[in-house]
């Protein structure tokens, strides 16, 4: 096999590894280059305090594609859930906590009307989310041109929506682009319930509950159709299993090999150049890096059409989610929460207006004074992550606006926000600080640096209608193949987007193979 037939994959995130595994199984010679010293990208487990390990970016698994998991035999390669189907506990500062188990109220103060409405809402959202789920492993259709097959693909999407039936279709089209706040207001009375659902919708996005598209992000979150779970060994175990599957298929993985640029020969890629100066030839380069980093940094705007480069430049990818890691000398106590429920998914979003107010600050470049949190304590289910008897608290915290840069200002912003987050946590767990051994807070700029996410955005670009399906990441690049011959994207910046799903990687592999067949 010559070097021009080699496929280089830039980045060993979950999508890069899925893509690599599928290409190797189809007989391609695949080399995966990872900048960090271990595989995983944003699905990674690492130490943050001596003896304490945590899923350093994504911390819950609920979107991983079942077909990919089966195809690559991830269970056979060591992936095991410490706990599947976590319940959601909507913490109350005063009074009873509300415990949700999918569309069912497991415990807590919810009126009969809200209970019935929740069941109906849940089922309807599941039906809508299935429409999205059906698109996950399909290549989005081209908007213009491309002939019959593109028209068929577009028709299929329309057909999936039509098949919801008249009432559901009308409702789907009514709410798909709208905001979660209005939908919650018309559906429920309980602020606690509305707050928890609002948080689900805006988690990891640069949206407040009143922002358009926050309904779509909720549906996207639900489209995995599984309740959140915790892998044994953290999220790094998912990518470790993927790497094992890929290596079994013949993939070579090199860590600590950051790519400086993607090299071109005329109108095609010719390989990559590492930061070390080493050059590696390849006829196909698939990038798991985000679209902005791939196209504007690794390739460079000058090698693209000016209009296309502008569209990439204007990709909305500003993260507002920070990541909190606490090392604790014992299991924390939460007021009025039974010890056996501390290991569930705890959310601090007491009502949707609270969430919106938290978002308001970030609109003007400030961190929330009263942030919202999604908390897990994985050590309840997986003792391997901390020394015996000790615990790890991992939380997604919003909102901290993306502000580029390091140094004293960044440090001040980080410590100020950490103080606020701990203060909020203390209202629910007054003794928390007494048990604190170490704390780490990753602001969006820190996430950008550590995980090489442009703008610190978890999804490689905002999930919104203007960056969805055939518009993701930008028109002209939504079918995984980039305008430069032999260059592909395979990350969360592509359809179907973020969440540890793997579908983008699988779809990209199919696009590479389809292009080879038609060449």
């Amino acid at each position: 096999m010559t070097e021009s037939q080699r496929v280089i994959i830039v980045g060993a995130g979950h999508n890069g590894l899925v893509c690599a595994a599928y290409l190797a199984r189809a007989g391609r010679q695949v080399l995966v280059l990872e900048a960090a010293d271990q595989v995983g990208g944003a699905a990674v487990t690492r130490e943050f305090a001596p003896g304490f390990r945590v899923s350093a970016c994504a911390h819950l698994l609920y979107l991983l594609d079942a077909g990919i998991s089966r195809d690559l035999d991830l269970a056979g390669h060591g992936l095991k859930l410490a706990r599947g189907s976590l319940r959601t506990v909507a913490l109350a500062a005063e009074g009873e906590h509300l415990v949700l188990d999918g569309g069912r109220v497991a415990a807590g103060p919810l009126g009969a009307a809200d209970g019935a409405a929740l069941a109906e809402f849940h089922h309807r959202m599941q039906r809508f989310a299935r429409v999205l789920a059906k698109q996950h492993n399909r290549r989005p259709p081209r908007i213009a041109g491309g002939g019959r097959s593109e028209l068929m693909a577009a028709a299929l999407l329309g057909f999936d929506i039509r098949r919801l039936g008249r009432d559901d279709m009308r409702e789907f089209l009514r709410i798909a682009g709208t905001n979660i706040f209005d939908i919650l207001e018309e559906s429920f009375a309980s602020p606690q319930l509305k707050g928890a659902l609002a948080l689900d919708a805006v988690l990891g996005t640069n949206l407040g509950p009143r922002s358009n598209n926050s309904m779509l992000t909720l549906l996207h979150r639900l489209s995995g159709n599984t309740a959140p779970g915790l892998p044994v060994g953290g999220m790094g175990a998912v990518t470790a299993a993927l790497a094992a599957a890929a290596q079994r298929a013949g993939v070579t993985v090199r860590t600590s090999s950051p790519v400086a640029r993607i090299t071109l020969a005329g109108d095609r890629v010719s390989g990559v150049e590492l930061e070390s100066g080493e050059t590696l030839a390849a006829g196909t380069v698939v990038s798991n890096a985000d679209p902005v980093r791939t196209l504007l940094t690794l390739v460079g705007a000058r090698h693209l059409e000016a209009g296309f480069a502008q569209r990439v430049h204007h990709l909305r990818a500003k993260g507002t989610a920070a990541k909190l890691h606490l090392a604790l000398d014992r299991l924390p106590e939460f007021s009025r929460l039974a010890a056996e429920q501390v290991g569930e998914r705890l959310v601090i979003a007491p009502d949707p207006v609270y969430v919106e107010h938290a978002f308001d600050h970030s609109k003007y470049g400030q961190s929330s004074t009263a942030p919202v949190l999604e908390i897990t304590i994985p050590t309840v289910h997986d003792a391997s992550l901390a020394p015996a008897g000790k615990h790890v608290l991992s939380a997604v915290v919003q909102y901290a606006p993306y502000i580029a840069g390091t140094g004293a200002d960044a440090d001040a912003r980080r410590s100020q926000f950490l103080e606020r987050v701990l203060a909020v946590l203390e209202t629910y767990s007054p003794t928390l600080r007494q048990h604190l051994i170490a704390a780490e807070l990753l602001m969006p700029a820190d996430l950008e640096r550590e995980f090489r996410l442009t703008g610190g955005h978890w999804h490689h670009g905002e999930l919104a209608l203007d960056q969805f399906l055939m518009l993701r990441p930008v028109p002209g690049a939504a079918q995984y193949a980039m305008p430069i011959g032999g260059l592909y994207l395979c990350g969360a910046g592509c359809h179907p987007g973020g969440g540890v799903m793997g579908s983008a990687g699988g779809n990209a592999a199919r696009a590479v193979l389809a292009a080879e067949r038609s060449r």
């Binding site: 109108d267 000058r302 000016a306 209009g307 502008q310």
Partner: protein
């Protein structure tokens, strides 16, 4: 980019006068004006045919100041320009001018213009349309400065066989050594006069570029030196006759700038404007390259042709047919038409749908014309002309004759 607030009162002036206005207004005995990119300029001064006659037989002065001008500098100026336009800018050496087109991502022409390599790495791009927006957007990833300095540069087109003699008489020593598309700098009235051997008439001629404060002095010196050489002011109408004779395309007439088109089949590629010679696939990437390579493979949709039309009826906006009987089909339309005094022919530029328009092909123009308010129609045989309709040797001769 910090907004320039020094001109924040700009909206109080609806239409600008050019730096030459005191002179052009005095000479505009017909008092006919039109608006060109927010400046008022003369359609004609005294008589279009006589103004045209000055271009071809003596010398004529055209106020070019409203031409959109951009100054492009910085370490990446060359790389930026090479990514912008379709031809190889590296071949335009300092002191030279190149005619260029630039395209959108789909290889459709946004505009054409002249690129002046003023001094090493210092460029001026002149365009028909305002291009600051597209230039700025194209600058992503380049270390380059782009300034639109239309207001800061006064310019005259000075065209015709006696122009070189006049410039020499004005004291521009060595101006006769300028070759076509060459640039020269001459001291003038305590400043610097930039002379380029360029123009839009297809004749011997120059364009003169100067600071606005010295514009009137330039005009006066030119007319004083040209008094014995038949110097005349010329308006847009006379220039239009000569540019069609030269076979030059005009944005907004012969093609629609791609960024203002709504319908996909309204735009044109360089190949479709008979400007394929300006596309260089052997240079680094440029915007539209991939689409143009694709077009080369698949074939173009349109062809721009020069037509010599039988008779003397002006073929303005005429339909072009492939034959003249009951089975005739429309194969295109005329975009520019004029009676050419120099070629003594009824000429036109037309866009035809491929594959129509090969040299020697049978073509007919359906011309509607009016006589004493009565409309009539004639079918006129057309001949495809290769090369310019009028292309005098003096256009290229260096040094030019004194005539």
């Amino acid at each position: 980019m910090t907004p320039d607030m020094t001109h924040k009162e700009h909206f109080r002036t609806a239409v600008y006068q050019t730096p030459f206005h005191p002179r052009t207004a005095a000479l505009n005995v017909l008092n006919v004006w039109h608006r060109w990119k927010d400046y008022t300029v003369a359609d004609a001064y005294f008589d279009t045919p006589l103004e045209y006659a000055a271009i071809r037989n003596a010398c004529a002065v055209f106020d070019l100041s409203p031409m959109t001008k951009h100054r492009i500098t910085g370490p990446d100026a060359l790389a930026f320009l090479n990514r912008l336009v379709t031809r190889d800018v590296a071949k335009i050496r300092p002191g030279r001018v190149g005619y260029c087109v630039w395209c959108d991502d789909n290889g459709q022409v946004i505009d054409d213009g002249t690129l002046f390599h003023l001094r090493d790495g210092d460029y001026r791009l002149c365009s028909q349309e305002r291009q600051l927006d597209w230039l700025s957007r194209s600058a992503l990833g380049f270390d380059v400065s782009i300034v639109e300095d239309t207001h800061a540069v006064a310019a005259l087109a000075f065209q015709g066989p006696t122009t070189c003699a006049v410039l020499k008489k004005m004291g521009l020593a060595g101006v006769e050594t300028l070759t076509p598309f060459g640039i020269g700098y001459f001291p003038f009235a305590g400043g610097e006069l930039l002379v380029s051997r360029t123009g839009f008439t297809g004749d011997l001629g120059y364009e003169l570029w100067i600071e606005p404060s010295r514009a009137l002095a330039l005009w006066d010196a030119l007319f004083a030196a040209g008094a014995d050489y038949g110097i005349r002011p010329m308006g847009t109408h006379a220039l239009e006759v000569s540019r069609i004779e030269a076979g030059f395309v005009q944005a907004g007439m012969d093609f629609l700038p791609a960024d203002s088109a709504v319908r996909v089949d309204r735009t044109r590629s360089p190949f479709e404007l008979d400007l394929g010679r300006l596309v260089d696939f052997n240079k680094p990437n440029f915007t539209g390259r991939r689409a143009l390579l694709e077009e080369q493979k698949k074939g173009s949709r349109f062809r721009l042709v020069k037509l010599d039309i039988a008779g003397n009826k002006l073929a303005k906006a005429a339909y072009i047919y492939d034959r003249n009987d009951a089975h005739k089909t429309v194969v295109g339309t005329v975009t520019s038409a004029v009676w050419s005094p120099a070629a003594k022919a009824n000429i036109a530029l037309a866009t035809l749908t491929m594959p129509a328009g090969l040299p020697g092909a049978e073509l007919w123009a359906e011309i509607y014309y009016q006589r004493e308010l009565k409309w009539d129609k004639v079918m006129a045989r057309c001949r495809v002309v290769e090369g310019a309709f009028f292309d005098p040797p003096r256009r290229r001769a260096t040094p030019p004759g004194d005539f």
